[in-house]
Symmetry: D3
Subunit: 318 residues, 6 copies
């Protein structure tokens, strides 16, 4: 019954994209109606975890992160004073129904196209800019692809992670979460790629870095590089800056809820100092690899992921 399955898949994918389009349109109209916003952060959840090499928990993350963003235990102001309850600062477009689409047998090529498509639907609604909640790191490729294609050129990428995620293939998977930045560089979607927090990298990781001209800042030299990293200027001469944060850039002491424990990482404040001082037009971002199944009993790392989202939104919205 391939035809039956195919038509079914098309209709379910259409329905999914319609859901995203309608929500993006409503949020865009609302923000434009209130007026005064040059850029609004639009949350888009991508609950995708099957491209992970170890644990698939990150697929469960988006609803946990949302719940932590608005949970009663913290106020709705960002560190630099932006009010997240203002739809012009933060609007929510909801989740792509990834599980429902995959469960229909849709292959990864097509699924990743749906992800790119959804990001473009958000960007079509001026002044919405996509902030994607993962999901494992494989989603950064389709998201950066969409942002770059939509803006008509490459971006500069600030990538915070314990791993370079730049293998050509990992366990034979083209879309592996450990290869997303190889895909991005091959696609020409990024001019400069700065990787910060790296501390689990092998020969191939360094060679691929050299091959793509990646600026890899390893934790081994962080105390020396800190000064420069807390005064970055990116995006000039390209379409802007894209920031991708893998929660395991932090030392596991600060973030239990991750699949890979890599001791010797950044503190949360290290990351905020880099973010707050970064100069550049933030056109897209993602927060990936939070794994609720490895979190402490009261979802502490959900609050960590949520605060990354809140502070990125403050940076992106203007």
């Amino acid at each position: 019954p391939t035809s039956l399955v195919e038509t079914g898949q098309n209709r379910v994918i259409d329905a999914s994209l319609t859901l995203i389009r309608e929500r993006a349109k409503l949020k865009g109209e609302l923000v434009r109606l209130i007026g005064g916003a040059k850029a609004t952060t639009a949350l888009l959840g991508v609950p995708l975890g099957h491209n992970s090499s170890f644990l698939e928990g990150p697929a469960l993350a988006p609803p946990h992160v949302r719940e932590a963003i608005w949970c009663g235990s913290t106020n709705s102001t960002t560190e630099e004073g932006k009010e997240l309850k203002d739809p012009r600062v933060l609007s929510d477009v909801g989740d792509i129904p990834v599980q429902e689409i995959r469960e229909m047998g849709v292959d990864d090529d097509r699924l990743m196209k749906v992800v790119s498509e959804s990001v473009k639907l958000v960007m079509e609604e001026e002044p919405l800019r996509p902030l994607v909640i993962g999901g494992d790191h494989s989603i950064s490729y389709p998201v950066v692809r969409a942002v770059s294609e939509k803006l008509g050129g490459p971006v500069d990428i600030l990538h915070l992670d314990a791993h370079p995620d730049i293998y050509d293939r990992f366990e034979g998977n083209y879309y592996s979460h450990a290869s997303s930045f190889a895909r991005i560089m091959e696609g020409g979607y990024a001019r400069r790629l700065l990787q910060v927090g790296i501390r689990s990298i092998n020969k191939e990781g360094r060679e691929q870095g050299k091959r793509f001209g990646v600026e890899q800042y390893e934790m081994r030299t962080f105390s020396k590089d800190r000064q420069m990293l807390e005064n970055l200027k990116l995006g000039e001469g390209v379409k802007g800056v894209y920031i991708s944060i893998d929660v395991d850039c932090l030392d596991p002491g600060f973030a239990h809820g991750v699949s890979h424990f890599e001791p010797g990482g950044l503190s949360f404040r290290d990351v905020l100092n880099i973010l707050h001082n970064l100069q550049g037009d933030l056109v897209g971002a993602d927060v990936v690899e939070y794994n609720p199944q490895r979190d402490t009993a009261d979802d502490m790392t959900a609050m960590v992921a949520a605060k990354f989202v809140r502070e990125l939104a403050a940076k992106m919205s203007k």
Copy 2:
């Protein structure tokens, strides 16, 4: 901008229902194509938790339960030998995007109609029968309403719970998870309502029970009632049997992942003995109130909720 919001809400609700309709249709067609199934269990997730009186974690349950149903640590055969990988035994229609709909400001009346509507969409696809994964217990009302209206008459309900959930109002909320069975009885959707596992009930709970002629079997007398409860015959002369399982019917020792700890509950085997020996045509069911935020570090109660779903599916599918 009420008109803007309203049209936005309508379009998002339509897109949500379309998503459910398409998936139900595909699954129905698939099952009918293979042929030989009189009844197929169709999973429908309702990630709704705002009608809870204490904790809202149950909204996060559906993806955790699905992950546990198919997780590698157990095989795909039910205790009585049914093969869950056969789409004629178990098909998955996905989740209603409740958070996305609520976030648009849609009120509860309309939201509950979307739930009922979705259940009907599933039932329109012979031979699919709805097995709903909650979400808190407030969803049983719209689900039972849909099943009864669709079948054109009342059903007999077997309700396993620590609480009777039959207050007229709780904290003023018409749709409170503690009032769903008052709504059901007022609506005339149930002829007989048997409540088993009850051990947290006050005067109003008992009076409402008398008022609606509910057969309330409290844990205090379970050792006497066991014999009768393990030989139930339900659904004769009405449209069939509906089973609603609140995970907190179990003693907290067997199910940590619940919002309300009520010591002195049923064991998992007590519930299975009742289910396996029940005679009657199972036309609908739900498994509600699993709360991932209260579960042990390795999602043990997700496996408990998942096995309830698996054994209900074995009972319902034929």
Copy 3:
């Protein structure tokens, strides 16, 4: 400066007893004022843990148990319908400041006299009857001593525990929590002593049982003894019944928050069936050995200890 220390100890002990007396008097007056109560359960916390052979956590229990009794996640009605918010059913006299007294260097003899004294202060206020929240099991001796002396004669004791706690001495400590029932029997404060749930007992435990004529019902024979134990008639011809529940009478599966894990214990429902069917005038009770430091992340065993207190109160108040 012994004199200084002594006078200081006296004055602190007096102040402690005054605090208990004032609270007991107020609660007694309140209950008598409302009228209609023959017996009111009065909670008395004894945060004492230094007589434990393994862990001292039980000293932290009373505030955790109180918080669980009134916590928002459960209603205030007992299984048989008594309303705990009615001061005639349940009144709270507060905690004996054990840590403050011990920290002054007061020895155990004197400390245990303060415990007995406090219980008597409660009993002086008709119709208050003492329900003590432990603390480790060493406190049952001073409590039973006070109840029996106050009523002028022995009581029958139903003692639920994994251990007989009837060593003559344990690690040389006269007041060890493993010797409290030897002290009680030596004192002649109990006619019949029934020990239920026993499953960790050595030769000395059995010999001491024979010596004191204790009816020891071990878990090995519980399925045979159940019938008799669920139809007990106690207290005839003596001053009434005293019930002492060590939370580790339960299987560790139902009660993580205990110092000693003894697999193969009672279920919570087993204990309630014995309690509900017991015929006799309940004149005093205690719930001991809950250890918050061994509890699950969300204080599940605090709810278990709290429900023992609630159901004992329902039994005692009339």
Copy 4:
């Protein structure tokens, strides 16, 4: 029976104050007897948690913190060599029976007066100086009020916290734990108020700061402010220095046992560097907001709170 309740409340409050007075007197006499102490740290527990906006667990803290101060796993010497077993360095006056007083229906005004009264009772016993173990942050107001009134003038306050706690009202509660420093500044009890570790502050928080001339050092600029903060000189020209530590000034990675997870906080060593280098006469201090219900399985944050108490005592005692 208002008169009955009133007299009851008076007598219970008197008994409570007597208990504190007697213990303070004994400890004072003991220290004076040994001689040689200009200042002795006196621990006073205030188990109060109902003024919290989110979780009430901090009410359970004092006994957990005490147990951690003396637990066998660490020695009794502070980092700078003071011996905590010397009563002239550290004496314990015990807990104010807050639960017992509140349970009598005593309102917050009166309860906070009892807290102030108790602090004064401690200060009357030269050379005892109050180190209060919370309890939520609402208790800092009555404690600072008492210290300032007793010394006859304002103090300089060093306040370590993720939140400024300086709302005029929070959820309408005059005594909210989020308003204690507005109360303190209105009362004129503080000349300089330095707030360090702030990272969750909204417009009102900043406006109130400006209104009261508060020096607010946010985590955003901590790397720049560190140099100055590790060389503070306070208390000159006023009655001395008061230090208030909210355990959530630390990054949640270092302190799980708190109600509000605010990523990006101080490390324990950051705080000790500030404390050890501070020049000033420490006349009072508090350690608040440790929540045992959110702590790891083996009370790790109790050890964090206990070490704050130990090092503050080393600073205060001379």
Copy 5:
């Protein structure tokens, strides 16, 4: 360097067997010296976990179980009064250095021969009888093989487990922990094989059961089978009885520390009732599949596994 590796492997295997032989000989001599023992339980640890289909934690079990057997929180008497400190009741032969042997590249055939060889070394020392601590269930095959070969004939086996572990092959592994009882039956080492607690079994599991004439008692019918199972008589006309306990025969509520959560299992007391009432000469036993990495924070399931070992030892020693 195959020759080098081979000679190395031989010498390491010889050294391992020498270690077991020497310890068994010493223990045997000691017991024979004291005299009066017809059968002494000899503990033998087999830390092997690589034949697991899901998690490999069971390889870490033996030292955790030993620590729990002797931990201070419980006394050293079994439920029926045997004193475990008596070397004639319980002697310990130590662990087979499985990791060291495997790490040398020794294949499974040879490794399993070392296991069988070690068991025979124990049995050579009259009156020692082997009680093996797993390790995953794959070790039951080499252990039963050794017992049966040593005694010169088949035994009757009582096998407590959620799974029948009787696949012909599982994931292609001849020694899979899910195939050990196929290996045993093929080898003719067992006459009767009773499997109790089964609740996760598919078509192949039932067919293989029929093929080998296995008596499979599923949890579905346990309430009916209980009577018969609590009065078993085994081992007549063969070389005796062998008992194999997979800790996951228990409901996960009683045993968190297992790889596979299968709700609806036995209680600990259910298993003890079967063990205590079993009539037969117990010639060997094993306790397998305890997984320390899935246990609660304070190793509760280690105590469960330890008590199985203690009660089996009481049964085996005479």
Copy 6:
């Protein structure tokens, strides 16, 4: 039967040493065969925990640490690019069967000689150098003794710890884990002893430090000492450098799995910066005091201990 026990002990000790000798010989031969290695790190597990003053869990550590070194969630390259799968970089000699030896009644003197003996057996196999996985800190004395005796002279020691472990006796135990460095200095096995991370030290700890000329760098002055500590040059003029890492040198936020929580410690990155920049010939090392029973649910601190082992191996092998 002393003679029996003695001969038994001798034979078991011989068998244990034979096991170590055979494995060391095989690994040495293998490495020499491949060629090109001047120094190869050889892992040696010493599962010894009875010399701990508080908890004995560290005896369970070695298998957990090994499992974490090779677990699938991280790659096998060290931060500076060494490939751990190369036997010339890292070879494993297995565990000394400490429990089996102790259980035979062997006293500590003899046991510690077996530890020294085993280390020497490793060092006899050029180019193997010992990296010992503890076990509690008492094992550093026999290991350093063996290294120094084997090399024929003292070494310089870099000791990372919260405690100086230099008491003359602790609780009367000559081999206490709190006295290992007094034993080492008395034995003349170390010229310079640098202790870094110290933050729990009393008068005796400082006096013993002065007496032995120990360079004690306390956390109080770490920000000042960092510069010097990250540029150490050790081992000149003696036999090389020995590094001993007690996992509790880290702040408990980074390492839950330890017996003693001492807030205010080093971060993992602080330690790596010291290690990576240290100049000196590393001739031996140990990683001790990891306690699996205090670790988080998913063995996070096992990964911390494993990464210390991996980075030490990278430093030692050349």
